[in-house]
Structure formats: structure tokens, C-alpha cells
Symmetry: C2
């Protein structure tokens, strides 16, 4: 029976792909890859390209990254129907997605559309925050502490609540709200326990340990993550 495989590629470095992902990529007939802009090669594809058989059929499909829900759902529906058709015709089909497929990934919207019709196997990947923590030898959480992962697109008062209550925090999607976040880190006395990493595991990776730097907003990229651990002395 043919099957569909959703494959987490990890954060960017090809060597952070799992052995299972590599083996799966070598045994599929068709690979779907998400393109955020038409014609631009997907980052997920570039991460795994060294593992792909030369004759693999690659189908790049455009996924609009905007706020038009209708347009997005249409794209997900179209890609999903295509995948179902391919699997039902006996092809093993893969789909690559950045990081971990179950944590803030559009992959979920594809998966949910497939599950009634075909067999779906999802393969986990290294999350960007987990990679940043290891790269920086920065313990995320220990013992009886909880860890909270916050997208900075969340309502502001909920961010305040989390900053008040928790010691171990990952902040994702920091870029657009960097000023607000830095102000809050100061207010809740978290700023000396935080590091920011921009473009993690890509060529232009930069690590910022001094978040009191007044020009930090000019230096960071769209792909920026902050790790906070109040029990962790900053080096």
C-alpha cells in the first residue's frame, strides 16, 4: 500500500535531519515542497536536497503566506487533492516541512486534509529553539520547572502573564514586536537571562547576548528567537 510521509527537516543545517527522514526521502516516488514565493526554492527542499535520489519527481507547490484565509485554504485543498490522487495511484509521496511538523507548521493543514483518505506517517524534526539552545549550550528547562513557548504574535496581555509567571521561556516570531518584547523583558527582570539568535543554523547566524543594546532592532532578521532561563547564569 502506498503512503504519505510528512517529513520534518529540522531548522536549516542538513546534518540535523534524522536518519529516518533520510531513509524515507530515499524511498519515495514523489516529493512535494512548499514554496512561499513563486519561483523561489523552498528552504525545506534545500536542506534535504543532498539526500534525494537523482530521479526523484519533485513537485514544488506555492503556499501563499498572507492573511487571506480563503486563498490559503484553496492552496491547501488543491495540494491535498493532488497528493491523495498520487497516493491512490500507488505512489509513495513525501512532503518536507521546516523544523518539527507538529509545532507551528502549515504542514498540519495539509495533514488534516489527507487523513481521511490515505495513510499518513509524520516524521518529527529538530525545532529551531531546541537547536539554538544546544548550539549555545543554553539549558532550556530542568527539574520541576515548566517551559513555555510563546509566539510573539500572541495578545500582549497574555505575554505579560507568561513573563510574570514563568522562568523558562522561548519567544518565537520576535521580529515585528522586538521593542515591545525588550521593554517587557526589562520590566519583568528577565533581560539578563535572555539571549537572541537571528538566522539560526543558516549562514548569517548571529547571537546577541546583550539585549540592552539599543540598536538591536536594526541588527536582527525576520528569523529571530529569544531564549530565557532565570535559573541560568548568562555567560
Amino acid at each position: 500500500m502506498a503512503k504519505f510521509y510528512g517529513i520534518g527537516t529540522g531548522p536549516g543545517d542538513s546534518s540535523l535531519v534524522t536518519v529516518k527522514a533520510v531513509e524515507t526521502l530515499q524511498n519515495i516516488d514523489i516529493l512535494y515542497t512548499p514554496e512561499s514565493k513563486k519561483g523561489r526554492e523552498s528552504l525545506a527542499l534545500s536542506i534535504v536536497s543532498k539526500y534525494l535520489p537523482a530521479d526523484l519527481h519533485i513537485k514544488s507547490r506555492h503556499f501563499p503566506m498572507n492573511f487571506n484565509e480563503f486563498e490559503k485554504e484553496q492552496a491547501w485543498n488543491m495540494v491535498s487533492s493532488e497528493i491523495v490522487e498520487d497516493v491512490k495511484s500507488g505512489k509513495n509521496v513525501g512532503f518536507v516541512t521546516l523544523g518539527d511538523p507538529m509545532i507551528y507548521s502549515t504542514y498540519v493543514y495539509i495533514m488534516e486534509r489527507l487523513m481521511e483518505d490515505i495513510e499518513v506517517e509524520t516524521i518529527p524534526g529538530i525545532s529551531s529553539f531546541s537547536n539554538i539552545a544546544s548550539n549555545q549550550n543554553f539549558p532550556l528547562v530542568m527539574d520541576t520547572d515548566p517551559l513555555i513557548i510563546i509566539p510573539c504574535t500572541m495578545e500582549e496581555e497574555k505575554i505579560d502573564e507568561a513573563f510574570e509567571k514563568y522562568d523558562c521561556i522561548v519567544l518565537m516570531k520576535v521580529y515585528k514586536r522586538i521593542h515591545m518584547i525588550i521593554d517587557k523583558l526589562k520590566k519583568y527582570d528577565l533581560i539578563d537571562y535572555a539571549i537572541l539568535v537571528s538566522n539560526s543554523s543558516q549562514e548569517k547566524e548571529e547571537v546577541f547576548t546583550n539585549l540592552r543594546d539599543e540598536h538591536i532592532d536594526e541588527k536582527i532578521s525576520y528569523f529571530s528567537t529569544i531564549l530565557i532561563n532565570k535559573n541560568n547564569k548568562k555567560r
Copy 2:
């Protein structure tokens, strides 16, 4: 210059090790492995054993898993001194640890003892909760929601707070407090959005989707994790 490598092995399945971990394991001179009981092979070692060169020098070291802080610190100090000595004598040294090294891992206590004396590189691994989510096609968190990861050894009132406030929750170390946790899941109307996985990615893996089962406490193992997502219809 010789170096120390802390290597996350992922949750249990050898194929969930990263390519980077495999390459590192093939280029070290000595591998330290943690034994929780004297003489019992470490789970972390069994996960990576198929990737190890035949002539690799393996040093199994006992890490007591009890509440005697002094005994534990003594063990960490001894292993750390040994590692520093090995690296300073020109050997590349590895240390394997279950799951991800930066999330609830004793590895951190070794790492912190080494960082002043030798170069330390940490390699991330797949967390058990991320593997369970993918295996079950269970989305952990999407869009603007936060994700909170809770060790059930945490103070009870903090568990209540988290259950009241958050929709996407991972519960680790469930075993000893399973009754209390199930009662709270009912109270906060989370029980129909939760799944429990026992012995994830090991031979005796079991998935429980009905957490209203009154005999669930007799069926689960020490290695049990609960995933909750209120935005996710249970299948």
C-alpha cells in the same frame, strides 16, 4: 584541538538520531554513557550502538537517580574530571543523553562542569513529546497559541493555573500523579482533547485515547506522557 560532544539520541528509535549525531559518534575516541543502575546498559547507548565504530572506547559511568543531592553531585564531579582529563590528553570525547540535551536532561550538570576547562559542542535531539505528536499525527500547537510543557512533579497549584489558562499542553513525568492529573483534566474540560502515550518509541509502546478509562493507572508505565490540544478534535 580535542573537543567534548554532548549528543542527544532522541527518544528511543535509532532512526530518530540526527545525521550530525551519527557523524560525530563515528569520529570520537571515547564515548561516555550514563548508567542509571549499575550494570544495566544505558538506553542512550542502546539507541546509538548500531552507529558506533567497533574499536570505540566506551566508558559506562553510574549516575545515581535518587534524592541524595550530595551523592549526585559527587558522581557528576567525578565524571566531569575524567572527561576533562581525556580531552586535555588530546582525545575527542562524546557523551550520549536521551531525548534533547537542553530539555530536562542531567547532561546539563555535566556540561556546566566542563565549559570552563574544555570546548563543548552540544548536538540537539528529538524530544519525546515531539516524537509522540508526530507518531500520532497530533498537532501540538499552531498560529498564535502558546505551548506549555509541564513536569507533573511541579507544585499542584501551578498545574491548576496552567490547566486554566492554556489550550496546548504537554505533561511529562505523569506516572506517579496520574490520578490527580486525570481528575484535573476532567475539571478543566481538557480530557476529551488529551491522549496518553506509554513507552513511546519503545517496543511496548501503548497509546490511550480514552482517558476516562477508570483502570488507566494500572495500564501505563513509568515513561508516560500526555498531550493536550483544545483546538484539536480527537479522532
